[in-house]
Amino acid sequence: MVRLLTATFLSPLLLALVSHADEPARHDFTTGADFSFIQTNGVDSWTDGFVGKLRYDDFSDGLTISRGFLEHRFRLADTLDTRVAIEAYDDNLGPAADFTEAFLEWRPVPRSRNRYRFKLGAFYPRVSMENVDPGWSSPYTLSSSAINSWIAEEIKTIGAELSVSRRPQSLGGRHTFVGQVAVFYANDPAGSLLAWKGWSVHDRQTRFGDKLPLPPLPQIQPGRLMERQDPFVAPFREIDNRAGYYLNGEWRIGQRFALRAMHYDNRGDPEAVEGGQYAWRTKFVHVGAQATLPLEIGLIGQWMRGSTVMGSPVDGVHLVDTEFDSLFLLLTRRFDKHRISARYDNFEVTQNDSTPEDNNPESGHTWTLAYRYSASDNVQLAAEWLSIKTHHCGWVYYGILPTHTEQQLQLSLRFQFGN
C-alpha cells in the first residue's frame, strides 16, 4: 500500500519542484487516489479468477484504496507533448503501479481550416464518452459501462493515429467534423476475456504488465482442446505480426451534441498462438452520442456490436466463435457541486461454435445510480450503487446457477491535485 501511494504521489511532486515558476510549466500533471468503502453481494470476482462481473467480492469488501492514478504531460516543444498515464492497484494482477497509456502527441499549429493531430505510442481509441476526466476517470459514475469496462480491460491502440478535424465557417463555426485513422500492433489476445468471461462493469484499467486471470475454463486445462492457453490473458501482446486498424468519424455541434462512429478490426490471425496467448480476430462497430437535453440534462448513449473468434475454422466456424453486443444510456444532471447520474446497460454474447464444455453465451443488464459531490478541486465524494443481472450458460461448469444478480455499493473519497 505504501508502495502504491509513493508511486502515485511522489513522482509528480518531484516534477513540480523542478519545473520553473514563471513560464507555463512544461510539466502538467494530475494525480489522485480513491479511498473506498465497498459492500458487494455477488459471485466471486473475475479479478480473482472466477466469473463475477464486479471488480470486488467478499474477499475485498470493506475499506480499500481502490485506485491511485497519475496523468502527466511533458511539453517537448510548443506542439509536441509526451503523455503518460499510470494506474496503481493493490490486486496483484501486475506491478503495483504501471502504465495504461504512453504516447507522443504532435499538434501542429493549423495553417488552414484542417487541423491535424498525430499520436504515436499506446493509447485508448476514441470509444468511451464516459471516461473524459484525468486518469480516464468518469465524471458521472465510479464504474464504467460494460462497453467501456471492456475497452479498459482489453483494448489499446499500440501504434499510430492520425486525426483531422474541420470547423467549416459556412456553418457558422458551430459544427466540427473529425476523422481518425489508426494502425496498430500488439493487441492480438483482445477478445479472450469478452468471449470467456463475458462483459463486466467496473473501474479497473489494464496496465501494460497486467495478467488478467481467466475463469477455470474446462477446455484450457492440460490435455484439453485449448491447453496452450495460459490461465491468464495478457491482452497487449503481438502474436501474428499483422497490423490492425480502425476508422472513426465524429460530428459535433458546439458543446451540445456529439455523434461518433467507429469501425475497428484487429485483423488478428485466429490460428496464431504464442507464449500461452492466442491471437483473436476481434472486430466491432461502435456508435456513440451525447447531447445536452432540455432542463440541462445530459444524455450519453453508446452501442457496440462485434465478433471475436479463435482457433481453426471448420465449415467457416472457429473453435471459439462469438458475437457480442452492448448498449448503455446514461442520464446525468449537475446541480452546482453536486451531480446525479443513472445508467442502464444491456449486454449480450452469443455463440456460433458448438465446441463442447465451452459455453459462452450470456445476456444481462445493469442499473447504476451515482451521486458525486465536488467539495473542492482537490476533494470529491462519490456514492454508487449498481445491480447486474446475468444469465450465463457456462456458469454451471463452475457449480453456480446460470442466473445471478450481483450488487455493489461503493462510497468513495477522492483526493486529487495537479498543476
Binding site: E23, P24, D28, R75, D78, T79, R107, V109, P110, R111, S112, R113, R115, R117, R126, M129, V132, D133, P139, S163, S165, R167, Q169, L171, G172, G173, R174, T176, V178, E250, R252, I253, G254, Q255, R256, A258, Q290, A291, T292, L293, E296, I297, G298, I300, T332, R333, R334
Partner: protein, 229 residues
C-alpha cells in the same frame, strides 16, 4: 512588480472610462450626431452581438488613424469577447486569465499568427494591419473559437441586447454600412448599404434579415464533459 503594474493599469482604465463618460456627456450636450443601426431577424426580433461598421467612400474618407489598443481575453477556456471589432492598425493583446495554458492561433488570410503556449501576458500585442475577418482558435482547446473583425474605419460598434448599435457620426459623406455575425446566413450583398451621412443630424438604419439565424454559440452548460479531439 506585476501586481503594481496591473493595479496601475486598472487605475488608468478607470480614469479613462471616467474621462470617456465626461466627454460623452459633453458631446451629448453639444449634440453630436449618431448613426443608429438596428438589426432584426425575420420575425422582427432584435439580434444582439452583430458587428456594425461604416466604411467611408471617396470624399468621406479621413477620420482618425487607429491609435487604440484592444484586448481579446481568454476566460474559462473561451475567447472574450467572442467577437472583437478593431480598426485596421490596432494592436490587440491576448491575455490568458485562465489558470491553464493556451496556444492562440489564426490561419485567416488577413493575419496568420500563433502565440505559443502561455499564461498571463507573456506575448506582446499583435497589430492587425489588414482588413478582414480573423478567426481565432486554441491549439490545445479545440472548442475555443473567437473572431477579430478588422475594419477600415473608426466608425464601428456591436448591437446591444435590443439589437441596436450607435456609431458616433464624426464626419459627412458617403459610407458603406455593413453588418456581420457568424449567426447570419443572409447573402452578403444584403448585409451592406451605401448611405450618405451628414453630421449634425441623427440617422437611423435598419437591417431586416431574411434567413433564419444560426443558433448562438453554446456556452458549456456543465451537464456533460466534452473531451478535445
Amino acid at each position: 512588480m506585476r501586481l503594481v503594474s496591473v493595479a496601475t493599469l486598472m487605475a488608468t482604465v478607470r480614469l479613462l472610462t471616467a474621462g470617456a463618460l465626461i466627454i460623452g456627456a459633453c458631446a451629448a450636450v453639444a449634440r453630436a450626431s449618431d448613426l443608429d443601426v438596428s438589426v432584426v431577424d425575420r420575425d422582427g426580433k432584435p439580434v444582439p452581438n452583430v458587428a456594425v461598421y461604416a466604411v467611408p467612400l471617396g470624399e468621406a474618407s479621413g477620420g482618425s488613424a487607429a491609435t487604440a489598443t484592444a484586448t481579446m481575453n481568454q476566460i474559462d477556456v473561451q475567447f472574450h469577447p467572442h467577437i472583437l471589432i478593431v480598426q485596421q492598425g490596432t494592436a490587440v493583446s491576448f491575455p490568458n486569465t485562465d489558470t491553464i495554458a493556451h496556444h492562440v492561433y489564426s490561419f485567416s488570410d488577413p493575419q496568420q499568427f500563433d502565440l505559443a503556449i502561455y499564461k498571463g501576458d507573456l506575448h506582446p500585442p499583435v497589430t492587425f494591419d489588414r482588413p478582414g475577418l480573423v478567426t481565432l482558435g486554441c491549439n490545445i482547446h479545440d472548442n475555443m473559437l473567437g473572431y477579430i473583425l478588422v475594419v477600415e474605419t473608426d466608425m464601428f460598434g456591436k448591437t446591444n441586447n435590443v439589437g441596436q448599435a450607435t456609431l458616433p457620426l464624426n464626419r459627412s459623406g458617403e459610407f458603406k454600412v455593413r453588418i456581420w455575425s457568424p449567426r447570419i446566413r443572409d447573402r452578403s450583398d444584403s448585409l451592406s448599404r451605401t448611405v450618405t451621412l451628414s453630421g449634425g443630424r441623427d440617422q437611423v438604419l435598419r437591417f431586416s434579415l431574411e434567413s433564419k439565424l444560426r443558433p448562438p454559440r453554446d456556452s458549456d452548460s456543465g451537464a456533460l464533459a466534452w473531451s478535445d479531439y
